[in-house]
Symmetry: C2
Subunit: 338 residues, 2 copies
């Protein structure tokens, strides 16, 4: 069974190991068996960066380089730029009329993000309505599967509500409902043990991190604060080094043995950290090299992004045309014919 998958990232900063574990690694696998589109969601990035748009523009090509560096293959995956797909903005305008303000205000994902970001009364309208924009993205590609974390399930539900509402109004199954594709590995914690990882918190390891940066980050990692002497028993739960070893090691049996050893005492943090450092250096060295290579040739990056975007333009324009036809707004097509 071949899925039509839509996924993507807001280009608000360089991608990091959290992205690698949470989505990038999965995409490299998915592209082999499914039709996958990866959207560089610059419009969505602007919804909470309206006052500093340069944050988005500076990161767009970096994110594309990150994708290519980890092995997302532009021949297998359509990599495209959201703001270069006018159909997405147009579909958003149509869908905005099918969703009430109070429904958007009740969206649990949006509610918790509004709280996190401290918007309160200064909530940008674009941020409130971004689930509608996501519904436009998903339906524009007629995506059947959307890889998300648990916290994003309300976005899938919002999309499907719009799909059902639209299909009911036009009396035909024009839009496709989608389902969540929940990843096997959930979230990687920040190196400080915090659930949220971000460049501004300084608790990430980016895909382009240098050898020294990786080592320094691993050495700073939060372990068990009560594990003072090597001989002390240590706690594995909440220990960031083990979270990372779990996520990255190819040898889970060995990790299980290390955990047992750590719990009974006699295994020092430094040994573990050295081990993790080796794993991460091995993983990231070729990614860093490919990333730098791509970023050294921005013309080629732009060419690759343009090729994917062009394919996406055709797909989304056709879907927009279907939506318009269904709404009876077919004058555009009539006008194109004269």
């Amino acid at each position: 069974m071949r899925y039509t998958i839509l996924t993507g990232d807001r280009p608000t900063g360089p991608l990091h190991l959290g992205h690698y574990v949470g989505s990038l690694r999965q995409r490299v696998e998915l592209q082999q068996h499914h039709d996958q589109t990866v959207l560089v969601a610059d419009l969505q990035g602007l919804t909470d960066n309206g006052q500093n748009p340069e944050k988005i523009s500076e990161n767009t090509l970096n994110v594309v380089a990150d994708y290519l560096a980890v092995g997302i293959d532009p021949d297998q995956t359509t990599i495209c730029l959201q703001s270069a797909l006018p159909a997405l903005a147009e579909l958003t305008m149509y869908y905005l009329n099918l969703v009430t303000v109070s429904r958007l205000e009740r969206n649990p994902t949006v509610k918790s993000e509004i709280e996190q970001k401290g918007f309160e009364r200064s909530l940008p309208a674009g941020f409130l309505v971004y689930p509608v924009s996501q519904a436009a993205d998903i339906t524009a590609f007629a995506a059947t599967h959307v890889p998300v974390g648990d916290d994003q399930l309300p976005m899938i539900e919002q999309t499907n509500e719009i799909v059902r509402s639209f299909n009911r109004i036009v009396g035909a199954p024009v839009l496709t409902e989608c389902q969540a594709l929940l990843g096997k590995v959930s979230r990687l914690p920040g190196i400080d043990g915090k659930a949220k990882m971000s460049k501004s918190l300084g608790n990430t390891i980016t895909l382009g991190a240098s050898e020294q940066e990786i080592q320094a980050a691993v050495m700073q990692m939060y372990t068990d604060p009560h594990h003072l002497r090597v001989s002390d028993p240590g706690q594995v739960e909440g220990n960031v080094v083990f979270s990372y070893l779990d996520a990255f090691s190819a040898d889970p049996e060995h990790i299980a043995a290390l955990k047992a050893h750590y719990r009974r005492g006699g295994l020092g943090d430094m040994v573990l950290k050295r081990r993790l450092n080796e794993e991460l250096q091995t993983l990231l060295a070729p990614i860093r090299a490919r990333r730098a290579e791509y970023l050294a040739d921005k013309g080629e990056l732009i060419r690759l992004l343009a090729a994917g975007t062009q394919r996406a333009q055709a797909v989304t324009a056709e879907q927009l045309s279907r939506v318009r036809q269904a709404l009876g707004l077919a004058l555009q097509d009539d006008m194109a014919g004269v």
Copy 2:
């Protein structure tokens, strides 16, 4: 001084004498001295017709025929279709990030419309944000003047707030502030004397009304309910027949004399109504004929709308490109070059 004027109508029904007095007549004059664009605002029409889009699609070409019939000249005025201008949706997406939800909720025009339409908790998101969409329309054409009624002044203010906010963020005067062009004649009442005129209230005279329909409407007009006998003194204020005579008669001195006569008594409603009927028949006969002619050749209507829309596409796409450049989102242009 040549203005750049943007104006338009939501195609929610055939245009009527209220539109003629409130805007259409003015447009026929303005087009001779200014750069005027008239937008058939079908997207905006959908903001409170999301559940019955056919209301919009059915009326779009009628509205274009109305324009042409009253003398809006497609060689002097750019007549274009909102939903066929993707730049408008795209600009809306950018501007939504510059406006807070609470600011939109405080917009007096939107507030009173929400009340009128009885939306309460079922307010469509598209309706709440339509002032942002209007700002996109106005700035996409770099309009300097927007003909509005008093009740629409908050929309102009909202647009200019977005303009100032955008220019401040990008540090350059990319967008142009606009000003209201307040019409000389304010609102024509419905034939029942109500301030609001609408097809659904059945209190309008449409531009395509037949001779019999016009006559029947005039005969039904609300006058002075206390003016029972011809010899009684009558009241001119709130008397719909006089409102219409004021709006349509080419001979204000004669109307002033009629008012004086009516006030002192001895002038019957029927005399006045016959007089008004004659004026309206003379005005509307050629409009009705031209309207029917245009509607008999939809291909020609579509061709005219397509020509105007194509001009508008060029103007708005160029403005969108400027906006993107200013935001640093110039990848589209780079991509177009490869």
